[in-house]
Symmetry: C2
Subunit: 346 residues, 2 copies
């Protein structure tokens, strides 16, 4: 995977897209053929969400606060992406909102991996693949304000001369990682997500909440990364249009899930000890992402991948202290308790 990239501002995205599509007429045809309705819709959604979310974060930062740096890249084999990163702002230590839209031949290694996993109906090939996704992480300065992560993605495979996808699925979720537990924040976050789920299937929230608690397990520490949210993968058990509507609702509700919490916490007073504890929690975040996260592992193992985009999720700063144990009964110990035993928030 060879990637060329250049730094652009938001307005350049359309021009960039033009360049990707004008690369060669045969490539263009191939790519256009791949842009079936769902892929086009998902591409539009992730572009829209990136704009909506980065705008909301910049509003939180205020008129003299941090601004996103837009880093766009083109994948020679077909595809493009825009990483929006804000570093050392007024409210956020680091925030990243990445999108990628990839249309190309499906690498044989990836197909083998899918077949080994469980995927049926993909024993022929070669296939073209289309992937559109958004991935975001936000680490605020104030230790009372939680870190958040969200990711939504659509994947499909089409036979090289085919038309309809032979396989497709959606995946994603969102989860909150506080350094200090404010129950009202945890309840607010889960309530907004549950509403987005319930609009589509009341079985979704309990199922995906559990999946989230299981996935974000920092096994070697015996604790979860945060206080959960939802997580789902390989979702394809109903018409794509229906699942898309669900994913859209989840993505659209992100700002309502998170921004009011940061608004409430960003100017709270805190001590040096609070900041040190946040830094230790950031260290655990790094441990989960580098040791356990499947997305990061896959990214790091892919030759020629854009490492900066894969590791965008890492905090600006982190800390490891040998044998740190919070005082029993302290707010720090209270957080650990909830990370060790995931709770139902609603």
């Amino acid at each position: 995977m060879r990637i060329s990239h250049k730094t652009i501002d938001c307005e350049a995205t359309e021009e960039l897209k033009g360049r990707v599509q004008s690369k060669s007429s045969s490539k263009q045809k191939e790519e256009t053929a791949l842009r079936k309705p769902m892929s086009a819709k998902m591409e539009q959604l992730v572009r829209h969400l990136q704009h909506k979310i980065t705008s909301a974060v910049e509003e939180l930062e205020g008129p003299n606060g941090g601004r996103f740096f837009h880093d766009a890249w083109i994948r020679e084999e077909g595809g493009e992406g825009v990483s929006c990163v804000l570093q050392d702002g007024k409210v956020f230590e680091k925030a990243g909102v990445n999108i990628s839209i990839v249309a190309s031949k499906a690498p044989e290694g990836m197909l083998q991996h899918m077949r080994a996993r469980k995927r049926e109906g993909i024993d022929k090939g070669p296939y073209n693949m289309f992937v559109a996704g958004i991935s975001l992480v936000m680490h605020p300065h104030n230790p009372m304000a939680p870190t958040v992560h969200a990711n939504y993605r659509y994947f499909e495979l089409v036979e090289e001369n085919g038309d309809e996808p032979v396989a497709w699925w959606f995946g994603g979720g969102c989860d909150l990682t506080p350094s200090y537990l404010f129950e009202e924040d945890a309840i607010h976050f889960h309530k907004i997500i549950k509403q987005a789920c319930d609009n589509h299937d009341t079985a979704y929230y309990p199922r995906f909440k559990k999946w989230c608690d299981e996935y974000f397990d920092v096994k070697h520490r015996g604790e979860r990364r945060g206080i959960g949210g939802i997580f789902f993968d390989d979702l394809e058990d109903r018409p794509a249009e229906e699942i898309f509507a669900f994913v859209k609702d989840c993505g659209e509700s992100f700002v309502d899930q998170y921004v009011p919490i940061v608004q409430k916490r960003k100017d709270m007073p805190f001590t040096k000890e609070n900041k040190l504890w946040q830094q230790l929690r950031r260290g655990r975040y790094v441990e989960f992402n580098l040791v356990h996260d499947r997305g990061t592992k896959f990214g790091l193992a892919t030759p020629g991948v854009r490492i900066e985009s894969v590791l965008m999720s890492l905090p600006l700063t982190a800390r490891w202290e040998y044998g740190h144990v919070p005082t029993p009964g302290s707010p720090e110990a209270e957080l650990l308790e909830v990370l060790r035993t995931p709770r139902d928030w609603i």
Copy 2:
């Protein structure tokens, strides 16, 4: 693996050892039977090196500087260890010198792993294992002073009712990770190591220097963790006594390899930018240790292991900046150049 541990000072080690051995007479006999000459020698060596190295570091710290915290643990299944950790001293941000001496049944999973790897002559079983090792990492405050890592270990398997080891080997090495390159430091470090190697076999240094450059490869970054040293594993190609003498020389030379460099760099003036660059390099150190290091991976995958000892190698603080690229021709760029293309120092 259930582990009980308590914090002790140095003098308590002998008392602790007494307790391990007096646990039960059958266990004691089993353990005594395992303490063949080489295992006893190696145990003595790692205990001696821990004392020698922590003393040298405390001397560097000065009369009002940091002191090592001694954290001793006992492994229920047989074995013990002492983690010596110094945090936020005058010279060192974090320094850890761990030893462990384990004598117990060899877990079946470990045997399977060895058989799959290449090991011959261990197709019977059950076996008892003996492992003695020392592992150290030191991260100084001053960005002009390099981080260092060293590790020496001896492993043997004995049939449950047997006497002589059916398999044994030594492994280890040491390597330097500067944030700023001082060629004279790199040359000094490698010269002292080469001398220790040459005393035993002039083929050792070139072979183990290359192995080190290959092992400490942060593949996803296209750069090495540091400027190398030596690395070896599964060493068993001559009498154990001879290899032990080599390992002993390596370990004994550690203080001469590293202390004069820190002595020279610890009080050098530095800017805020130098400190930020050091923090970014610490981030890469974390990436190598959590993503690539075999020892860490093995540690994290072992149920019930002492996580704090496994992750002792992580720095106190680290930093990740999106898309950081040093100015061409700067000292930061010069370091990267050498990490991308390992150099012969002598």
